[in-house]
Amino acid sequence: MDLTHSSHTHKESFITKYIFSTDHKMIAKQFMITGFTMGFIGIIMSVLFRLQLGWPGEKFLINELLLGSWANGGVIAPDKYLALVTMHGTIMVFFMLTAGLSGTFSNLLIPLQIGARDMASGFMNMLSYWIFFVSCIVMLVSLGVEGGAASAGWTIYPPLSALPEAIPGSGLGMTLWLISMALFITSSLIGSLNYIVTIINLRTKGMTFSRLPLTIWSFLVTAILGVLSFPVLLSAVLLLVFDRSFGTSFYLSDIFIGGQALERFGGSPILFEHLFWFLGHPEVYIVLLPSLGITSEIVSTMSRKPIFGYKFMVGSILAIGGLSFIVWGHHMFVTGMNPFLGAVFTITTLLIAIPSAIKVFNYLTTLWRGNIIFSPAMLFSIGLISTFITGGLTGLILGDATLDINVHDTYFVVGHFHIVMGLSAVFGTFAGVYHWFPKMFGKMMNNTWGQVHFWITIVTAYGVFFPMHFLGLAGVPRRYYTNSSFPMFDDFINLNEIISIFAILAFLGQLIFLFNFLYSIYKGKKASQNPWNSNTLEWTTPVEHIHGNWPNDIPEVHRWPYDYNKPGYEEFIPQNVPLKKGETDSGAH
């Protein structure tokens, strides 16, 4: 494919440059700004429902101010509390950590790191963003409709999500949720196909698969997971639309509600759970893998040392990706699914611990005898290693069918997945932003405020989620508006207050990031071409963005991306530097 014509400079209007852009670097920024805005809304929601959990029934002016009729008198209504947790989950998992993370960094880094002038299809890329944008708008509009937003939990299990009689949020709010999600899936599919095609076809000369940076490997596997699993969610969503609007019974059977038995026979909510989690579990890795890729890159660069065990790192990404398709049943151990299946899913689930352990040990070995520079990106990467360990380990309890019986759907789960997937993915996102900010905006973010942001974030994040394991071991269920109906949970009143205080502080900490981010775009110090002395190809492009990325020929690749402090050579050797006489490519072992 000849893409060289796009490197010609031509005048662009505001609209083609900033709005309907087909340039992957601009689309990356669009995904980032939109995704982060959604994430910001998501975190505000969490602060509001944490107010209710920390001080149940207490009046808060801010509730009335922000939530209006959802919190008459300053106390969130019980069904609106459920709407808040539902929308928080939906927004964070899909809009912030799927689109905001993959959309941003896959778009920015794939062409730049593999040496391509743009994505395989710039138009599809633009389409992917704009469909995502519309889905965001639909989701936000659903917050304002009669009956409130979807309230059946982010997993929207029917019949609760199918019947407006069951909860007010299952009316128009749920309809809009489903429409938004269908759009979102479309956007994600178009984007993922583009990523896969680009990585396979548009690598520059010499960029073999064994020389791909680990970021690209993780984006590739993420995109494949998305393409294979999101359509299943789309089918689940469409069948639910049928059940809701056209009287079918895919998920409904033997229901008596609103004073009458419904004429629905033969369906099963368990079917929905299978379809949902067939996406839902790979989704966890769609969220997590890009972060692991980003941190692998940063940990190596900022330790000034090659990543340890490149091939095992690639192998474990592939293994995690493959296994993620055959573990969905561990979300359903106590649904009444055949116990034999529970046994099978226990085995497959616990196997994921092996590639995860390899990744952790390889990270540790990479740090060992390195020369660590604590840029904010590096701080967040180290934070990710910690959260990945902490959250991953409790997975051994939840993945074991026997142990899951008593912690299923308790705060133990909330603590576990927020640490292993929420925090890890968020830390990876922040690491990526700090690290590639100079590439995106040609400016540097402030180092000191980045460090302050990191320390506030890791302390408050653990302060919020670590104590939740204790709540879970005491049997406190998730999605409870208040625990006051059960005297057995009274011991935890103070702990819930502490968690809520940490949550508020965590939110305030993110304002530092927001400020630093926006400030640096306008007033940050100008970045040099390769501020981190990194080896990957994106740093061979000029600081000022141009169409086609490289003003002249695309560089040719001669080595793997991790030649830091190679004995007898320069401190770092970018991938486009030819091998010296007698030098071997250290990646080719």
Binding site: L67, L160, L350, I382, M488
Partner: protein
Amino acid sequence: MLLLSAFAFILILFLVTFIYLKGGEFKEMFKVDPDDLTFNEQENKTQGWLFAAFGIAFFLFIVFLMLKWGGSILPEAASVHGEEYDSLMLITGIIIVTVFIITHVLLFLFVYKYAFNKNRKPAFFTHNLKLEILWTALPSMVLVLLISVGLYNWNSIMKPLGDKDDKVLIELYAKQFDWTARYAGADGKLGRASVHLINGGNFLGIDTTDVVAFDDKIVKNEFHIPVNKPVQFVFRAQDVMHSAFMPHFRAQMNCVPGLKTQFNFTPKYTTQEMRRITKNPDFDYMLLCNKICGTAHFAMKMKIVVESEEDFNTWLASNQSFKQ
């Protein structure tokens, strides 16, 4: 709720304008020299120190949580299979804590020790097959242990009781937002029921033509079970999914409309005995709803009383049969 989104947008807009207009004044606060990678080595060291300090603080925080709230977690299991559950939890817990401590000590130690030093030449250590096989094999062996014990327990816990076994058969019926228990009665069998037969007072939809149903006993608010005798639960849901969660017995099963699910356990301690064990004279076993089911999900509960078999029989006899 639209207000919330509007608020977020406005806040961002406000910040953008503010920074754009007032940017110069913040310049002082934001002084750095990013081009300079050799930067301030001392400042970099401080970050290493902070990690070491954070590591220690993190462990202290965990110890604090354990001392303060470790005693508030569930007491020892009140069911026979719960003993296996608790010991598996203990084994897993020990493994988790060990790995957690080792990896975190290494992480914070390396980060602290290998903070940038311009005299150090980092190792060029790209791979080592032996090491990597070691840490593939080690977790694999631990997992084989965990999986085997886990599956052995899972299969024995999930095995339904046979028709001939001496047991108490109870149907737990879930609807928004309360529980009802139905005892099989003298014949040991539950009568047919369907939500399509719900009609006025017959709120469980019991088939009034089924003779097996006549001696069934329906109770609300609290239900009793005998100690040391297997109890077979069957679950039904009327409207949406619910989950019958009896944490003290290490028992949980979803209640799914259109599907009958089941779980069985043998209670080990009576309510009185558990009050002594927990040193809490007000202790009661509880049945909670643990699957989001609507507005009052958080208040959907039923008290469970475990008592001697004689007391249980007396209590059951005092309840009316469905059709006498």
